[in-house]
Amino acid sequence: MEKELNNQQNSLTENETKNHHQTYDSPFSRRIKKSTRVKESIIKYFFVLNGTAALIFIILIFIFLFKEGFKAVEHIGLVDFIYHSRLLDDGTFKRVFEWYPTSEDARYSLVPLILGTLLTSIPATIISTFFGVGAGIYLSEIANPKAKEILKPIIELFAGIPTVVLGFIMLVVGASFFNDLFNPTNRLNAFIAAIGLSFVVIPVIASLTEDALHSIPNDLRMASYGMGATKWQTISRVILPAAFSGVSASILLGFGRAVGETMIVLMAAGNAANISTNIFQSVRTMTATIAAEMGEVSQGSDHYYSLFFIGIVLFSITFLLNLIAEIIINKMRKKNTF
């Protein structure tokens, strides 16, 4: 086989010397050596295989979360993830919403955990929307180009702070600082965690808002100025409405980050699975529950599977948020390309 190929190549080199202008190997011509063609297509399929890596991993994450998580549904039942029916002395049932998987009468209600997640991530998103959108507007519309060149990387550095550092700072400094200000019920509470989360979410919202505003064609600004509008009128009545979908996508993505963040809430939210809407009380989020309990649980127990079930819930929420944000961003891109 090799000999044949060599012969072929030899004959080709002979041809080349005769009339070399016909033997250029361009991908568009049919005059390509067979060995080259085989090699090229092997390389191509190698890249195709690698190209699907991200898709394969997303599918694998799906499969392996569901594989373990569905055992929890089988063993415990879907209803028990919402409430636990406790038999009272007088023979009636009472619905308890508690996360208490280690007790003998194990309770697996996700309600306090979901409440904890919302109680930390929603305030964080509100704070971050205020600061993030403001910073995005400043970067895209107000700062002069030279300042922007320095300030944008600073936002990126901001985003690069490891979350464990933010959790640590909130734990040792932030908690005492805000305790003096608000006198909360618990020293570590949802509010402290929300402040910590804002550090993560603000850069996300700021940089995506900046992108969205930046992608608005300059013609719109010029037209607005031409009609006598001031800078702020242009920003508030022309640019922001035009970039509305992009800005809202950035807020969605920021919210997704807040829901999925682990270390900050694990260190600063107090980790008590309370049912409460008081922001100054300790809460326990879904992510913190997985992080805190996975290390101690015995593999194959109901508790173990239920942690994977929490993983499914988390994954589904963030997956949906990301998908919606991406659809919005894609639509915006289509609209903005004239």
Binding site: P27, P162, L171, V172, G260, M267, L323
Partner: protein, 316 residues
């Protein structure tokens, strides 16, 4: 109308524009305060001894060298796994794939992978790499319980999946910025597609790929949640090193089958789970300072690289 009159009329505009300016300044001030606090509290303990020695006395004294070593080892193997995969994935998407439904799904998958919570990656690493892949390898190779337990290799593999989108996206950007005319010129000279990619496209995209690599390392080194149950250890008396011997020559190598200490995890356990968190506070600040210096240096390098890269491209 003069400039002055315009400004006078637009009082709300004046207020709001300065409000965004103030917001931004406030953010910078908070960031500076946090950094200053870490530096002031942490700088006192930083010494060669702190960086190059092991923890002593139930972790209340001594240094953090094993944690630094573990972080370097894990991120090193992580980048070995994820760089080839990410770069070739981006090559497929940018050079070979046409804009079909399938490739759009892949792009969506890349974006979605970037948004998966890091703790879910931890679950995935445990469920897939350790309990499925590792245990299956043990079964097939008859090695007892060697692969099916938390170890450096599985933590690296999981982090490799986590940073894959970063590498893919930055490589895509770099490949995309190589002008089509360069590719056409290469084809015109008789090069095949692979020759063109290898000799024309990739060399030009190298700074962009390097930027992605550095960002990925910095992200991997800062992650804590995924390694929580993938082999990050509270304290290890020995470094995860094994001597690889060929004949009489022995080279110390990272042992990918062992557990490891991790700088980010080290901060977490010292602050929340050690016996005396107040006594170890200086060590916590010191470790934080080391970690944040590491990630900042990496990020700044990446930013400078990208800035230069874009500047060069701007001239083309």
């Amino acid at each position: 109308m003069s400039e002055l009159q315009l400004k006078k009329k637009d009082i709300t505009g004046f207020i709001f524009i300065n409000l965004t300016r103030l917001l931004f300044l406030f953010l910078l001030a908070v960031l500076a305060l946090v950094l200053a606090k870490i530096i002031i509290e942490g700088i006192g303990i930083i010494s060669p001894e702190f960086i190059f020695s092991s923890p002593k006395n139930n972790m209340t004294e001594g240094g953090i060298f094993p944690a630094i070593f573990g972080t370097v080892a894990v991120t090193f193997i992580m980048i070995l796994l994820s760089l080839p995969l990410g770069v070739s994935s981006a090559i497929y998407l940018n050079e070979y794939a046409k804009d079909t439904f399938f490739t759009r799904i892949i792009r969506t998958a890349v974006n979605n992978l970037a948004g998966v919570p890091s703790i879910v990656f931890g679950l995935f690493g445990l469920g897939f790499f350790i309990l499925f892949l590792g245990r299956k390898m043990d079964e097939v190779l008859q090695t007892g319980l060697l692969f099916g337990q938390p170890a450096i290799i599985w933590a690296s593999a999981t982090l490799a999946v986590l940073v894959l989108p970063i590498i893919i996206v930055s490589t895509l950007e770099a490949l995309n910025s190589v002008p089509k005319s360069h590719r056409d010129a290469s084809y015109g000279l008789g090069a095949t597609k692979w020759q063109t990619i290898k000799n024309v496209v990739l060399p030009q995209a190298r700074p962009g790929i390097l930027t992605g690599t550095i960002l990925a390392i910095s992200r991997g080194a800062g992650e804590t949640a995924p390694v929580l149950f993938l082999g990050a250890a509270f304290f290890l008396p020995n470094l995860p090193v094994v001597d690889l011997c060929i004949g009489n020559y022995c080279i110390p190598m990272i042992n990918p089958g062992e557990q490891f200490m991790y700088l980010a995890y080290h901060i977490f356990i010292l602050a929340t789970q050690s016996s005396n968190p107040t006594k170890t506070l200086p060590i916590q600040y010191g470790s934080t300072l080391v970690l944040i210096t590491l990630t900042f240096l990496l990020n700044i390098t990446a930013i400078i690289f990208r800035y230069r890269f874009r500047k060069i491209l701007g001239r083309l």
